[in-house]
């Protein structure tokens, strides 16, 4: 039971961003949190990451209260945020380097991830020499190399064009089938939320509350044409009702 969100609220001055949110995220599940902008879903993710703290309630990871960021809860943000002075390989190894001296880095793991994200041959490229989709794959590899307890993803494909986003969603599905990590994925895209998730959480806005929490009735491995299945469409209709309310 890695993550327990226990009656968490977050206020920004008089604005109630999150109101009494409780959620348990099981090991090895892919959880998507779906909501329109301003529903507090990124606020929730930032609190799991330890980048901000709740006004009321508490967040626990393996029974320990979350108080600050840590490499066991790495975040992939909407923008890749790669370091332009480092090569692709050094970007992926950044977190490892922060944890240990340079000679302590397990370069085999770094190179294995470069292989997995399909960017072999680009090791020495600088980030600005890569396309947006490639950069975001590097950001994902940079997070995964830390072997985090939970991978937090804050609309990681939101800044990409439609075609690249589609490719990246399939990339993430294939990747997840390999690594079966615990993932919390924030999005405002209904199709993306259902397609990727084991557990789907839909949030309503002002104040941010959980309106629906359910299991996605689709088999794995997933593929895009599953978005035409009845189970998918039922869930999509429910989610749309909540988001448009």
């Amino acid at each position: 039971m890695p993550i327990v969100i226990d009656h968490v609220s977050k206020d920004f001055g008089a604005f109630h961003a999150l109101d009494d949110v409780s959620l348990t995220i099981e090991d090895g599940t892919f959880v998507t949190i779906l909501g329109s902008s301003g529903c507090g879903k990124s606020t929730l993710l930032n609190m799991i990451a330890g980048l901000s703290s709740p006004t009321r309630g508490r967040l626990m990871l393996d029974g320990i209260k979350v108080t600050k960021p840590g490499p066991d809860r790495v975040v992939v943000f909407q923008q890749p945020g790669l370091y332009p002075w480092l090569s692709l390989r050094d970007n992926i190894a950044f977190g490892l380097r922060m944890q240990s001296a340079a000679r302590g880095i397990d370069w085999r793991r770094v190179d294995e991830l470069i292989e997995i994200i399909g960017l072999r041959g680009f090791e020495q490229h600088r980030p600005y020499e890569l396309s947006g989709g490639m950069q975001q794959r590097v950001a994902i590899a940079r997070a995964l190399v830390m072997a985090p307890r939970v991978l937090l993803m804050d609309e990681p494909f939101g800044a990409l064009d439609a075609q690249t986003r589609h490719t990246m969603q399939q990339f993430l599905l294939d990747l997840w089938d390999r690594i079966k990590a615990t993932v919390v994925f924030i999005t405002h895209d209904i199709d993306e939320a259902i397609l990727l998730a084991d557990r789907l959480v839909v949030m309503s806005a002002r104040p941010g509350q959980i309106a629906l929490e359910t299991t996605v009735p689709l088999m794995r491995p997933r593929h895009w044409d599953m978005s035409l299945e009845p189970g998918f469409l039922d869930l999509k209709r429910q989610a749309m009702d909540i988001l448009s309310a």
Partner: protein, 287 residues
């Protein structure tokens, strides 16, 4: 695009291969225009020289006030061979370059760390900032009499003037570079478990580099202003002295030679900094 990677842990998977590998080359489409603009520059310079020659040949102004380009060139070759006022031209260029080199290097070596510390520690900022704000708007010229009284007319007051004039530019540029670090870069480092010290060393410092170099390019111009000002008033050699001394003797051609050399050297130093910048900060404007 099916999930064929599922069962093949370490083999290449077509589903997750790079299919968006286009690499941008920002310089490519502009190269045609670059030739045109360079030609324009050369044409304007040649045109200016021709107009200058014509105007002085027409004797609109007396030749002593406006020597022709040919006369200036002759003055330059004489200066190069025989020197002026007991100094060789190369010697004047050398001593001015040394003063600039030491004063400017001192400003960078002191200014960058001070700027970094000021940006990080509020107390230090509160201590140093009032002095900075006071020194900055005072024209360097105003310090010369004071520096001469305190340190005489040797090398020290000239180097100090360059330092005083340049250091605020470097400090302020460094501070603004630190503060302009994109918050995302810091958040990423935090979630990857970096400590405050590591974030400063591995994220903020490299992020500040482009602005530090911009400050250095502005600073080298300020340094030249200070140098020439110091040499005009309290020197017996150097390019500023050459211009001043020749002017007093109404040797306008030599004055113009001095001005052109000061301009070329200043430009050359800026180009040198730009070259170092391109090597040290290749991501500038692209990151």
């Amino acid at each position: 695009m099916t999930g064929s990677a599922t069962n093949e842990a370490n083999t290449e998977s077509p589903a997750i291969q790079a299919d968006d590998t286009s690499i941008a080359d920002p310089a490519a489409p502009r190269s045609g225009w670059r030739h045109v603009s360079r030609l324009t520059t050369i044409l304007v310079m040649v045109g200016t020289l021709i107009v200058w020659q014509i105007v002085s040949d027409l004797h609109v102004f007396p030749p002593i006030a406006l020597p022709s380009p040919i006369m200036v060139w002759a003055a330059f070759t004489r200066l190069l061979l025989a020197g002026y006022g007991g100094h060789s031209l190369v010697g004047d260029i050398w001593i001015s370059s040394v003063r600039i080199g030491i004063g400017f290097a001192g400003a960078v070596v002191i200014g960058v760390p001070v700027g970094l510390v000021m940006a990080r520690i509020n107390l230090i900022f509160r201590i140093i900032d009032p002095f900075l704000q006071f020194v900055r708007p005072v024209p360097p010229l105003a310090y010369i009499p004071l520096l001469v009284v305190w340190f005489g007319i040797g090398e020290l007051p000239k180097i100090l003037l360059i330092l005083i004039g340049t250091i605020p530019v470097i400090i302020i540029g460094t501070m603004s570079g630190v503060k302009a670090t994109p918050p995302l870069r810091i958040s990423v480092a935090k979630t990857l478990g970096a400590t405050e010290r590591q974030i400063f060393r591995h994220v903020i410092l490299p992020s500040a580099l482009p602005e530090i170099f911009t400050a250095m390019r502005v600073g080298i111009g300020v340094a030249w202003t200070c140098l020439v000002a110091a040499e005009l008033i309290a020197a017996s050699e150097g390019l500023g002295w050459l211009v001043q001394y020749a002017g007093q003797a109404l040797q306008v051609a030599i004055v113009i030679v001095g001005i052109i050399i000061i301009g070329i050297l200043g430009y050359a130093m800026e180009l040198l900094i730009r070259l170092v910048e391109r090597w040290a900060v290749p991501w500038h404007g692209r990151g």
